[in-house]
Structures are given as structure tokens and as C-alpha cells.
Amino acid sequence: MNQAPSPANGLGATCATCPAYRTARLKKLGIKAGASSRVVALAGNPNTGKTTVFNALTGLHQHTGNWPGKTVARTEGAFEYEERQYKLIDLPGTYSLLAGSPDEEIARDFILFGRPDVTVVVVDASRLERNLNLALQVLEITGRVVVCLNLMDEARRHGLDVDTRCLARDLGVPVVATSARYGRGLAELVQAIDEVAQGRFVCQPGRLRTAPPELHAALATLAAKVSLALPGVPNTRWIAMRLLGGDERIAPVLTTGELGRAGQGADPEETGGKKAPRTPLPAPGHPDPGAVEEALRTADALRRDTGSTFNERLVECIYAEAARLAGRAVTRPDARHQADFDRAIDRIVTSRRWGFPIMALLFTAMFWITITGANIPSRWLSALLIDTVYPALREFGASLGWPAWLRGVTIDGMYLATAWVVSVMLPPMAIFFPLFTLLEDLGYLPRVAFNLDGLFKQAGAHGKQAMSLMMGFGCNAAGVVATRIIDSPRERLLAIITNNFSLCNGRWPTQILIASLFLGGLAPAHLAGLISAGAVMAVALLGVVLALLVSWSLSRTVLRGERSLFSLELPPYRPPRLWQTLYRSVIDRTLIVLWRAVVFALPAGAVIWLSANLAVGGTSVAEHLIRLLDGPGLLIGLNGVILLAYLVAIPANEIVIPTILIFTVLTTQTTGVGRGAGVLFELHSPAELLALLHRGGWTLLTAVNLMLFSLVHNPCSTTIYTIYRETRSAKWTSVAVFLPLALGFVITLAVACLWRLLAGG
């Protein structure tokens, strides 16, 4: 970091330029931004470590990953430097500001209408040419820019050297080299931000050659007209460019003359909802209607001459300028070892021969580690929460003199269900998510999307759906969130709706238990394990096939004719940082998902207990319901107990098996098993369990159909809630709920009919 620039500095003392001194003056404020704070926007291409910079400055823990497009909505944080407060806005990663995709509009509107005091453009030092494209576009809008040259470590590894001084001189704005992942260069970055915000560094980005030379005259003419129409607006050239480019959103801004409020009025959410106008753009005077009309007419006439190729010429020129600047600043003293190394790995992991075997091996290993590794902590948690704390709580409740019903609802119902969910759910997630995040950080997952895209394309879907499905094997709610990396709305919707078909952690125990009890029992003892494992794998694979089939049919029916955009960038491999990965995946994914599950499990526990203990006309509510559901249940090869268990287990699939046991005990009037009506329990002896289920009328068909139904039914409430939050549409949420449910009924009914036909004939 000895290359850090020293932009015009008001402090003369040596200690003031020492990084240690400056770091001491940086205070991370998390989300606590004061009312008077200055606003700093963080823009950049996807996957340039923008969010890492954001986290490093604010001390927050926004999720990052080696994936283009992790940050979707805007996030805010704050920091303090020399007792001046700054509000930091992390804008979505975009390649440009011209295409008008929702992400790009959010970013552009904020830079233009939100009027940040400083815009920090984070660029990837190892791919400067492409990243400068965005930086140059931002510089057209505002001059108050600091360029953060991030991923310097990676650039060095690739044998590149970037001359920050040369780049700063060419761009006319401060350029700071950082490696945000290792916390390097951040002090200099903050100082540069502060200097630009204070006006101590005056940016001079005027000498850039971004406009097409043959259009200079046209631009100058139009810009002159615009400045007549809007006296006092500094970025008239940018407005002229947008008018020539046919940007529909600029003309209305011109006629109202309210460059500062146009965006806010339209959508305060997206532009940050700031009320006070900011300094960079002086409030324009009243537009002269005649001059505005004249400017618009000129634009229309010029557009005829420049043709529809204006935007293309513009991008071409911006890239030419980016290439020129990068050529001056970047030297390649070292032959590109790393790039060759990356390429060699890519050749292997995407090859016809090794691509799929490597993928299969990695994922099998991941599942094996998760399933076997989770057993031990699960047992510990269960011993602690259920065998130790639960009896203690019961005694405590009794000692307080609580009535039996109160103890039943709170301790036997709510506490026990929650404890159950935690002990079954937490360990596999705490193992699966870090493993997944590790592969993600490494950069392997985009290669998986690349390998599988051909398959997903056939289904009308996006290769990245493979990732969200994979994530769904951990938890469907997390899988639905993971679809954010898909930037095409249509394909993203498909991925959200079909995520439920990947068998989540909560359903694996059911599958494994039923398969080993019923199917494993069919085979000779030494093959039993293999048969049951094979059956579970078959069900999981069926889920993937169903996800593809449903995507295929939806994309050809309901979503037919919707626009689809494909983009997949394969980022360079990055050595993952183990502790950060572990910490972040536990905080971001595991705990959040667990918290939601707990919130939903509490009432479910109460409902289970109450349904088993409240009696209407001498029989419990549960028994009434079971009798009601027995008709349809038996028709589809299940029974009333199972259907009721799925009804009350909507909050968490983990409690399906214990709920089935409670209700089976209840309906078969079995005594000596379990802890009492409506209290979750588990049987550790398979023979005993099998005997109980046989008493409940279970056959092999029931077992097979339960395995199928467990795969194909409505998502759990946590997932439903997440789907609603991600789609913001009641319509698509209900499709995601009822489509798999209906499909589940159809599949189990078909299997039952076929079974009876074969067994009968």
C-alpha cells in the first residue's frame, strides 16, 4: 500500500499522514447514522468487493460472496471520521448505468437524484479496463468521486501492477489502492472521502474523452440549449448525452426543471428518500419553457442524424477511453501465472470428462459430512434441551403451581416443539452452510452453474438455479433468498417457485427414518443400509427432476413471452478466508433461518398440544380431524394422521415424525409409549417404532407415499414468508404454495392407484 496517493492534504504534520493515526480516527458506527451526516454512495461493478469495503468501513456484516450480484437492494451504514459523520450507501453492483435494468436504475437515480456528497466507485484492479467503464459513466454525472482500486492483492497475484498516481492524474479524482478483504488501504480511502466531502480536494475530471468525436458538435449544441433551459445545472453534457441516447426519463426532468426532486417524487424508497437538496448540484433556477421545448426539439432532430447507434458509439468510446487509461496505468511486470493457473483449473472442472464427476464428488462429500457430522451435536443438543432442561422446566412449572393446561401449552407444547426444531435443524445447517459458503467464496459455484446451464436452458431456466436448488438442500428459505443472484426476473421466479423441490435438511430425517424402517427392512441385513440410502437419493433426485419439469412447463405456459436475460460471469478463483466464512455463514444464514423457524415453531407446539388435549364431545379435536382426513388420506395411500401432521407441521417439517407418533399413539389408544397426549417424543428402538406404526395401519405403500409427499408438498411457513418477501406478490406466493401441494396429491394418488392395481391383480 506504499503506492497510496497523497491527494492535496490540509494536514502538514507527519503523524497525520501515518495510516495508524488515521485508522484511530475512523469510528465504525454500524447503522447509526446521525441526522446531519454526509452521504457517501458506494458504486461498482458486480463482484469487485464493494460489499467488503462497505463492511470494513461500517463494521456491519452484509453478506458477500464470490458471486456477481450479491447486493441487490440498497443497504445503508455509517462511519465517523474526525468527528464528522458519514452515511454510507451500498448501491447494487452494475456493469453500467445505461441499460435501465432495475438495479441500474436504483444506482443511477441515487447518484443523480440522491446527490451524494461523495461517490466512491469500487473498481477491480485486475480488470481495470472493464471496471473503468462504470467509473467513467459516473464521472459524467458527478465529479465528486473517489476511485477505490480494490482487490490489489489479486492483481498482484495475477502479475499486474497499477500506477495509482497516473490513474488519479488522468481521471482527475483521488484513486486509492485497497485490499478490503485484508483491511488494507481503508484508512487512506476514508481520508480521501473526507477530503472530497470537505472540498479540500477539488476534483477535475474534465479532460476525459468519453464522447464520440463525431458527435462532439451535436453534443455541444444540445448541451448549450440545455444550459439555456436549465441555468445553473452543471452536468448539462450528461443530460445532453441522455437526451441523444433516447432516455425517456430525462425529458420530464427537463420540463419540470427539478433535477433534484424528480427521482424522489417518483420513488422515495429507491432514491433514499432524502429531503434536503445536496450541494453538488446547485438548485436550478426556473426552467424557461420555451428554451426547454427548443432543447427537446433539437434533441429530436439530432437524434435523427445520430441514429439509434448513439448509445453504442458512446459505450464504444467509453471503452476506448477506459482501455487508454488502463493501458497507461497498468503494467504487467510478471507473466500471468495466476491467470494460467485459473485457466488450467477451469479446463478440468468444466471438461466433459471430469466436470460432472468432480461436481458429484464434491456434493456427495458435502452431504455426507453434513448428515453424519450433524448426528453428534444433534444428540448433544437433544440431551441438553429435551432430556435435561425439559424435565427441569416441568418441575419448575409444577413448583410455581401452574395449572396443568398452562404447563401443557407452554412447556409440553411450545418449549418442546421449539427445542426439537433447534436440536434437529441447527447442527446440519451449521455444517452445511459454511461448506456451501466455502465453495462459493472459492469461486467454484459459478462453474457449476456454467456446467449445468445447458440442462437448465432446456427447462427455460437459468444455470444459476442449480445454485439456489443446492442451497435449498440446506434450507428452502435460504435457497429462495439465494435466487437473488439470478438477474432475469422470469428465471428468478422459476427458481423461487421450484426451490421447494429440493429436499431440505428438515425433511432428510423423515426420509432416512422411513426408508430404513420400511425399505431397508425388505432387503437382507447387509444390504439394508445401501437400499435405504439409495431410496433417499432417488427421492432427492426426483426432486431435482420435478424442479426442472415444473420450470419447463411454467416457462411454456404462464411465463411464456416474458423477457429473459442471461448473464453469467465466471470470477477468478479466490483463496477463501476460513474464519470469516465460518463467522459470516453462521451469522447470516444459519442464525437467521433458525430464528424464523423458532418464531414459527412456538405457536405450532401450542397447536399440537391443544389439539390433542382439547376435547369436543368426549374425543379430542385431533381425533375429530384425523377421522375427517382419513378419507382423502387413505385414498392417496396415506392416512389422516399423516395429513394432520403435515397440517400442523407447516411451520417446520422437522416435527412431522414426532407429530405423527403423538397422533398415532392417540388414535391407537396405545399406552406405555410417549410422554402423554400432545407431547413430542421419539422412539429409539426401530422395532418398537415399526410396531407402533403397523398398529396405526401403515403399509409399505404408506411409507413410499409418505416419502413422496414429504418431497412434494407445500413449503414450510418460513419459506412461504420468504417467498412473499422476495416476490412481493400474493399471486406467485400462492402458486409456489399450491402448485407443489396439488402435485403431491396427484403423485401420491397415482402411486396408490397403481399400487392397488398391481397388488389387486
Binding site: 456493469y95 453500467s96 445505461l98 441499460a99 435501465g100 435494468s101 485486475s126 480488470r127 479496463e129 472493464r130 467503464n133 441516447g245 433516447g246 432516455d247 425517456e248 425529458a251 429530436d300 437524434r303 435523427r304 441514429g307 439509434s308 448509445n311 453504442e312 459505450v315 464504444e316 471503452y319 476506448a320 482501455a323 485457466r343 477451469d346 479446463r347 468444466t350 471438461s351 466433459r352 466436470g355 460432472f356 456454467f450 456446467n451 449445468l452 446451464d453 445447458g454 440442462l455 436452458k457 444455470g463 422470469r490 411464456r560 413471452g561 416474458e562 423477457r563 429473459s564 436475460l565 442471461f566 448473464s567 453469467l568 460471469e569 465466471l570 470470477p571 477468478p572
Partner: protein, 344 residues
């Protein structure tokens, strides 16, 4: 029950009779509306045809109008008579001419049609083959103000996805560029600038043949019986009648299009220089490709292909970008002479 309540009986009779009468009137009214609409559509289609003829300097005749509208001669004569009465056309010395009102109205329909096609191509996932038919319906229900709004939303496009000029509101139509493929001599090459979208069956056939806007064609044989030519690495044989619907802009003799190909045809490991994007790639798709760096002059290398056949990863400006085949087909590239495929 009816017998012991005569009032109810009569009430029902009156109600039924009233409903029947109302329904009949409604039906006849609806039929009349449909007939009026059909007539308006026919008038507007005729105006469209007349505008195109006028712009290209081709005399419009009763027969050509009849051909476009699939109408018998007497029906066409009746229609044109009606149009003359409405002040849309005039006959002078046996020729059909547009009045200023007729011209404005025809141009608006052409503008609406081409804007709608641009919208379908750029903003939706509707298939290529369906663009024309959908636009053919929509053009009659778009008002000039709506057309202006559509144009603004699309960023004021100048050409539609078939390569035709979109007239400005209140502007004029210029002559079609290029000339029919059938006028090209064997051994010469050109670029496709227009694929006729009428009649539909012809357009569907051309699209099925794999011909598209921007493709480079090189004529091998041109006789009365057939046209043989190369386009994008494939040999095509068309009947002259069909080939007449393809308009090309011939290359100058030194402007060789032979080394031009698309990214999708790039061999694994090969390098190329981007020449531009195909004209039928529109909207956000086009902008995204540009933003990723696929602009003229950029060096691209094909790095690897997915084991499932698609996509292929290309190195462009130090990034590795995966494109599906139909996206890669949108990028025109020039391969260095040594790597170029041997001439067909």
C-alpha cells in the same frame, strides 16, 4: 305454480321477451361494430401499402391493393371509392395517389406497426415469428399519442427489428435501402438489410431458413430457377420468388465479408475481434452485451464450453463471460486471416 299466479306468469313472459329483444339488438350492434372495424382495418392496410409504394417510387394500382388485402377486384374498387369519398386517396390520370390526410394516417399506421414490433423484440420474450402478426393487429388500436409514448419508452428507435425505418411522428418515409438479393451477380457479397415480413408465410420461410438481418451473404449461383448462396457458414438454395423478399446492401469489391463470422462459430481457443452486434439483438440484451465489453475493436477469445453444450465462456477485457449460443450469435466478429475458415 304458474297457474295460480298469473301476475308472475306475465312478468316472466315480458322479462323473457325483453331479454330476447335486447340480446338481438346487442348482437346486431356488435356485428355492426365488427364490420366497421374490419372496414377500417382494410382502409388502413391499403393506406400503408400506398405509403410504401409512394416512398419507393412504385406506382400503386388497384391490382396491387387487391393483392395486399386479399380482396376481389370489385371489392377493392368499392373500398377505394369509399376512401376517395373520405378524402384519403385521389385518382388522377388513372393513377392512385395519397391525399395529405391519407398519407399522415398511413404513416401513423406504419409507425405504430414498427414501434410495436420493436417493443416485442426488445422488451418481451415473444418469438421472432410472432412479431409481425401481433403488430399487424395492434397497429390499428394505437393512437398517435400512444405511439409517441411507446417510442419514448423504447428510447426513440430509428429502425424496427426487420431493419425498416420507423417514420417520425409527422415525418416522411424514405425509400428502402438495399436491393433484392436476386439482383446480385454470382461471386458478389452483401449484407442483409431487410427481410420482407409480408406475406407472413414468406417471412416464416426465410426465418426457418436461418436468414437474419445483418448476416453476410455471398452469391454462388443466380439463375431463373434458383439462387444459391452462403450465409453465416451455411449454404442456402432458394427459389428466386422467395429470394426476391431478401434485400441486401452489396459490399464494395475490396470490402471482404469473408472473414466475418459470429462469436458462436468461433472455434474453442480461437481469438477474434468484435465488429459489432447484429441488428436483431435489441433492448436490454443489446445494452448488456455492450456493457460487458462486446464493442467494436474488442479482442475476444473462446475459452471453454460447458459439458452440456452451452454456454461458452469467452475472455473479454480480462473477464470470463459465459454466453448462450443465441447470445453469441448476436456478436459479429472478424477472425484473423490465419484462423479464418477456408472459403466455401
Amino acid at each position: 305454480m304458474l297457474s295460480n299466479s298469473p301476475l308472475l306468469f306475465w312478468f316472466i313472459v315480458v322479462f323473457l321477451a325483453g331479454t330476447l329483444l335486447w340480446a338481438r339488438r346487442r348482437r346486431s350492434r356488435r356485428r355492426e361494430v365488427a364490420r366497421e372495424l374490419a372496414e377500417r382495418v382494410r382502409r388502413e392496410d391499403a393506406l400503408k401499402h400506398l405509403c410504401k409504394c409512394e416512398a419507393n417510387g412504385i406506382p400503386a394500382t388497384l391490382a396491387s391493393v387487391a393483392g395486399i388485402l386479399h380482396l376481389p377486384a370489385d371489392g377493392t374498387a368499392e373500398l377505394l371509392g369509399d376512401m376517395e369519398q373520405r378524402g384519403l386517396v385521389s385518382f388522377s390520370s388513372g393513377e392512385l395517389h395519397l391525399t395529405p390526410t391519407g398519407r399522415a394516417s398511413g404513416l401513423h399506421i406504419i409507425r405504430a406497426h414498427r414501434l410495436w414490433e420493436s417493443y416485442l423484440a426488445g422488451e418481451t420474450g415473444v418469438e421472432k415469428n410472432a412479431w409481425h402478426a401481433q403488430a399487424e393487429e395492434r397497429e390499428h388500436s394505437i393512437s398517435p399519442a400512444e405511439a409517441d409514448r411507446l417510442s419514448a419508452r423504447l428510447g426513440h428507435p430509428v429502425r424496427d427489428p426487420h431493419g425498416d425505418e420507423i417514420p417520425r411522428a409527422g415525418g416522411a418515409l424514405s425509400a428502402d435501402p438495399g436491393r433484392p438479393l436476386t439482383t446480385l451477380a454470382p461471386g458478389t457479397a452483401g449484407r442483409i438489410v431487410h427481410l420482407e415480413d409480408e406475406p407472413e408465410i414468406v417471412h416464416a420461410q426465410l426465418v426457418a431458413e436461418g436468414l437474419r438481418l445483418g448476416a453476410v451473404v455471398e452469391v454462388v449461383e443466380n439463375s431463373d430457377r434458383r439462387m444459391r448462396f452462403w450465409a453465416e457458414g451455411d449454404e442456402h438454395v432458394l427459389a428466386p420468388l422467395l429470394a426476391h423478399n431478401v434485400d441486401v446492401l452489396p459490399f464494395a469489391p475490396d470490402e471482404a465479408g469473408r472473414t466475418e463470422t459470429t462469436l458462436s462459430d468461433l472455434k474453442p481457443g480461437a481469438q477474434a475481434t468484435v465488429l459489432g452486434l447484429m441488428p436483431d439483438c435489441r433492448g436490454q440484451e443489446r445494452q448488456r452485451l455492450l456493457d460487458l465489453g462486446f464493442v467494436p475493436g474488442t479482442k475476444v477469445a473462446s475459452e471453454m464450453t460447458s459439458p452440456t453444450g452451452e454456454p461458452t465462456a469467452y475472455r473479454v477485457r480480462d473477464s470470463l463471460i459465459a454466453l448462450r449460443r443465441e447470445q453469441a450469435r448476436h456478436v459479429r466478429v472478424r477472425v484473423p486471416a490465419a484462423d479464418a475458415a477456408p472459403p466455401p
